[in-house]
C-alpha cells in the first residue's frame, strides 16, 4: 500500500517535471527515461521497491543513482569538451591513473587519505591539462590528441600500481564510494555538488557563452576577442578533474585499484550520455543537466537489463539499439524524413475521409444541446 502511494507520488512529480520541460531540448531525454521507468513499473517486478534499512534507502532506483555516479561525473566534464567541438577519449584511462595514484599513496606509501585524494586529483588535472595543451596549444585534432593518453594512460596507471591490484580499507576512501549521507549514497551528494558548481560556473558567468561560441565557430569567437585557446585548455583540464573524481569513486566502490579494468569503456558511456542528453557532437549548444539525465538513462537501461536477467555479455545489444533509437529521434533530419515517409499515408487518410459522407463526420453528438 505504502509502495503504491509512493509510486503514484513519484509519477506525479515526474510528470510535472516532464510537463515543465515540454519546450526544452532535454524533454526528449527525460521523456525517454520516463518511458524506460514506465516499462519497469509494469514489467519488472521489484524495480520500484524501495526500503529503509539502518536509516539508508535501498532499492533499484537508488542503485541507479549510485552506480550512475561515475558516468554522471564524467559526463559533466565531457559535455563541456564536446561543446567546444572536441571529444575526450582519455577519461577512462585518467580514472585508472586517479585510482592508481590514490591507492598507491594510501597503501604503499602510508599517506593519509586526504593527501592521497588531493594528489590523485592534482595528477588528473595535470593529465587533463596535457590534453588541453595538445588540443589548444598544438592544434591537434581532439580525437587523436586524447587517443594518446587513452592508450598510454592505462600503461602509466599499471606502472604506478606495478601491475598489482592494490586493496585498501581506509575508512575515508571507502566512504567516498560506499558511504551514505542523508539516507542517500554519498556519491549522489558528490554529483549534485559538482553539477551545481559547474552550472554556476557556466551559467552565472560568461564562461558558458564562451564555450558555446568556441564550439560554434572557433575563428569568429577568436576575432570577437574571446581567448579561444584558453577556453579549450580549460575544458580539457576540467574534464581531467571530473575523471579524477570518477576514478576515486570507482576504486572506492570496489575498495581496490585495478589499473586494467577501472573506467574501461566508460569514456564511451560518457560520450553516449552527452549525446543522449541532447548535445551535438559538432559542438555549440550544450545541455549540462541533459548530460546528467543521459547518464541516468544509460544506467537505468543497464540496471533494467540486469533486473530482467539479461546476461551482462549480451546486454550491449539492446543498449546499443535503444541509444541509436534515442539519437535518431533527437535528430531533426530523422523526424523530417519520417514525416515525409508518412505524409502519403496522411493524404490517403484524408482522401478516404473525403469519401465518407460529410454528415457522418459532423454528426451531432449525443450530449449536444437540442435546438
Amino acid at each position: 500500500m505504502i509502495n503504491w502511494v509512493s509510486d503514484l507520488l513519484f509519477w506525479i512529480v515526474f510528470s510535472a517535471i516532464l510537463y515543465s520541460l515540454r519546450r526544452q531540448r532535454i524533454f526528449w531525454t527525460v521523456g525517454a527515461l520516463g518511458l524506460l521507468l514506465l516499462f519497469n513499473q509494469f514489467f519488472t517486478p521489484g524495480f520500484f521497491h524501495i526500503q529503509l534499512l539502518d536509516g539508508h534507502l535501498y532499492g533499484s532506483r537508488i542503485d541507479v543513482l549510485n552506480q550512475g555516479a561515475k558516468v554522471m561525473l564524467l559526463s559533466l566534464g565531457m559535455v563541456l569538451v564536446i561543446a567546444t567541438g572536441g571529444v575526450d577519449l582519455s577519461v577512462g584511462a585518467v580514472m585508472a591513473i586517479s585510482a592508481a595514484v590514490s591507492s598507491r599513496l594510501l597503501v604503499t606509501e602510508h599517506q593519509p587519505a586526504g593527501v592521497a585524494i588531493a594528489a590523485a586529483l592534482v595528477i588528473c588535472v595535470v593529465a587533463g591539462a596535457w590534453n588541453g595543451l595538445l588540443v589548444a596549444g598544438f592544434g591537434i585534432q581532439p580525437i587523436i590528441a586524447t587517443l594518446v593518453l587513452m592508450v598510454a594512460g592505462r600503461g602509466v596507471a599499471q606502472l604506478i600500481t606495478e601491475g598489482q591490484i592494490i586493496n585498501f580499507l581506509d575508512p575515508t576512501m571507502v566512504y567516498l564510494g560506499n558511504g551514505h549521507l542523508f539516507g542517500l549514497p554519498f556519491t549522489l551528494t558528490l554529483v549534485v555538488v559538482m553539477l551545481v558548481l559547474t552550472l554556476f560556473l557556466v551559467r552565472r558567468t560568461a564562461l558558458g557563452l564562451f564555450i558555446e561560441s568556441v564550439g560554434d565557430n572557433y575563428e569568429a569567437s577568436r576575432y570577437s576577442g574571446i581567448n579561444a585557446r584558453q577556453v579549450k585548455f580549460l575544458v580539457y583540464t576540467f574534464s581531467g578533474l571530473c575523471a579524477g573524481l570518477a576514478g576515486l569513486v570507482a576504486c572506492s566502490n570496489i575498495k581496490s585499484a585495478d589499473a586494467n579494468n577501472i573506467g574501461l569503456y566508460l569514456e564511451l558511456d560518457a560520450i553516449l550520455a552527452v549525446v543522449v542528453g541532447g548535445t551535438s557532437l559538432q559542438g555549440g549548444r550544450f545541455y549540462l543537466v541533459g548530460a546528467v539525465v543521459g547518464a541516468l538513462f544509460i544506467q537505468t537501461l543497464t540496471t533494467t537489463l540486469y533486473a530482467r536477467n539479461v546476461s551482462s555479455d549480451v546486454s550491449p545489444v539492446p543498449k546499443a539499439l535503444v541509444i541509436i533509437g534515442v539519437c535518431l529521434f533527437q535528430s531533426d533530419l530523422f523526424r523530417t524524413r519520417m514525416v515525409q515517409l508518412f505524409r502519403p499515408l496522411g493524404t490517403v487518410l484524408k482522401q478516404i475521409s473525403g469519401r465518407i459522407p460529410h454528415k457522418v463526420l459532423t454528426a451531432p453528438r449525443h450530449d449536444s444541446p437540442k435546438p
Partner: protein, 317 residues
C-alpha cells in the same frame, strides 16, 4: 634533383621509424634480425592488419570505425559455431564476409541518410556486435574441422631457412595489395580521397557521396570480417570475448602509417608499416623479457604522439 612531394613525407617517416625500430631490435637482441622474426611478425599481426586496411579506407574518407574489434570477435565465433554445426568452411566464410559487409553497409546508411556522427554509429556497432557474439555462443569454441587441421598447415611456404611464411601472413599481404590497388587505381578509391579531403567540394564536383560512403563502411566491414576469418586460422578457435580494444590498435596503426585522421591524405602501404611497427615493439618487449607488457601501451602512445606532432608540422608548412 626533384623535390619530394610533401604528401609522401609521413609515409617516408613511417618507413624510417620501421627501419630504426627493427635495427634497434637487431642490435639489442641476438636472433632478432632474422627472417623468422619477420614472417612471425606478419603472421601474428595478420588479423589486426587486415582490419586496419579496412579502417584505412574509413579514415581516408574522413570517418572512423570503432566496430572492427567486435566484428573480428563476432565473425570468429560465428565461423566456429557454423563449423561446429557441420557447415562447409567456404560457405561459412562467404556467410561471414557477407554479414560483415552488410553490417558495415547498415552503419554507412545510418551515417549517410540521417547525418549521424560516424563515431556514434560505429560505437553502437561495437556494442551490438560484441553482444551478438555472445548471443551466438557465450564461450570459446575450438575448431577441429579437417580443413583447419590438415589443409591450412600445408598452405604455408618456406621462404628462407627456418622461416615459414604462414597462410595468415599471405592473406594479410594479399589484403594490403588489394587495398592499395582499390585506393589508388579505381574510381571508388579516388572518390574516397575526394570525400575525405572536402565533402562539400566533392559534392559540387558530382562525386556520388552516399554510394561511396556506404561502400566505404561496407568495405571496412568486409575487411574486418576477413580479419575475423584469419583470426580463426590463427587461433584455431572462436571466442566472443576476444579482441577487446583491437579497433584502437587498428586506428593507431593507420595513424602511425601516415594517414591523416581528418581524411584525404594517406596510403594503404603505410598502414602495413604501422602494423609492423606496433608488432615490432611487442616483439622487442617479448625479447627483453624483463619489461612488462604495459610498456607496450606507453610506447605506442608515445609513437602516436610523435607522429601526430610530425603530421601537424607538415600540415602547417
Amino acid at each position: 634533383m626533384t623535390r619530394l612531394n610533401p604528401k609522401y613525407i609521413p609515409l617516408l617517416a613511417t618507413a624510417v621509424v620501421l627501419i630504426l625500430v627493427f635495427a634497434t631490435g637487431s642490435v639489442l637482441y641476438p636472433n632478432f634480425g632474422t627472417p623468422r622474426v619477420i614472417v612471425n611478425l606478419l603472421g601474428d599481426n595478420a588479423f589486426v592488419g587486415i582490419a586496419a586496411v579496412g579502417e584505412s579506407f574509413v579514415i581516408l574518407s574522413g570517418g572512423i570505425d570503432l566496430s572492427v574489434g567486435s566484428m573480428v570477435a563476432f565473425i570468429g565465433i560465428l565461423i566456429a559455431s557454423l563449423l561446429q554445426g557441420g557447415c562447409d568452411p567456404f560457405l561459412a566464410m562467404s556467410i561471414a564476409l557477407g554479414l560483415g559487409s552488410l553490417a558495415g553497409a547498415v552503419m554507412g546508411c545510418l551515417i549517410y541518410f540521417f547525418e549521424m556522427p560516424p563515431f556514434l554509429v560505429t560505437l553502437a556497432g561495437l556494442f551490438c556486435l560484441r553482444g551478438l557474439g555472445f548471443v551466438i555462443h557465450p564461450e570459446s569454441i575450438a575448431i577441429d574441422h579437417p580443413f583447419y587441421a590438415e589443409v591450412l598447415p600445408q598452405l604455408s611456404v618456406l621462404v628462407a631457412p627456418k622461416a615459414v611464411l604462414p597462410f595468415t601472413a599471405m592473406c594479410f599481404l594479399g589484403c594490403v595489395i588489394a587495398g592499395t590497388l582499390v585506393a589508388g587505381f579505381t574510381r571508388f578509391g579516388r572518390n574516397v580521397y575526394a570525400i575525405g579531403s572536402s565533402e562539400s567540394s566533392a559534392r559540387l564536383m558530382g562525386t556520388p557521396i552516399g554510394r561511396t560512403k556506404i561502400c566505404t563502411y561496407a568495405l571496412a566491414g568486409f575487411f574486418a570480417a576477413g580479419g575475423g576469418i584469419v583470426s580463426t586460422f590463427y587461433m584455431q578457435s572462436g571466442n566472443p570475448a576476444s579482441f577487446v580494444g583491437l579497433e584502437l590498435d587498428a586506428i593507431a596503426s593507420v595513424v602511425i602509417g601516415g594517414t591523416l585522421l581528418t581524411g584525404g591524405v594517406g596510403f594503404v602501404p603505410g598502414t602495413l608499416m604501422g602494423v609492423l611497427i606496433l608488432g615490432l615493439i611487442q616483439t622487442m618487449i617479448t625479447f627483453n623479457g624483463t619489461l612488462n607488457s604495459w610498456w607496450t601501451k606507453i610506447f605506442i602512445g608515445g609513437l602516436l604522439l610523435v607522429f601526430i606532432v610530425l603530421q601537424r608540422l607538415i600540415a602547417r608548412r
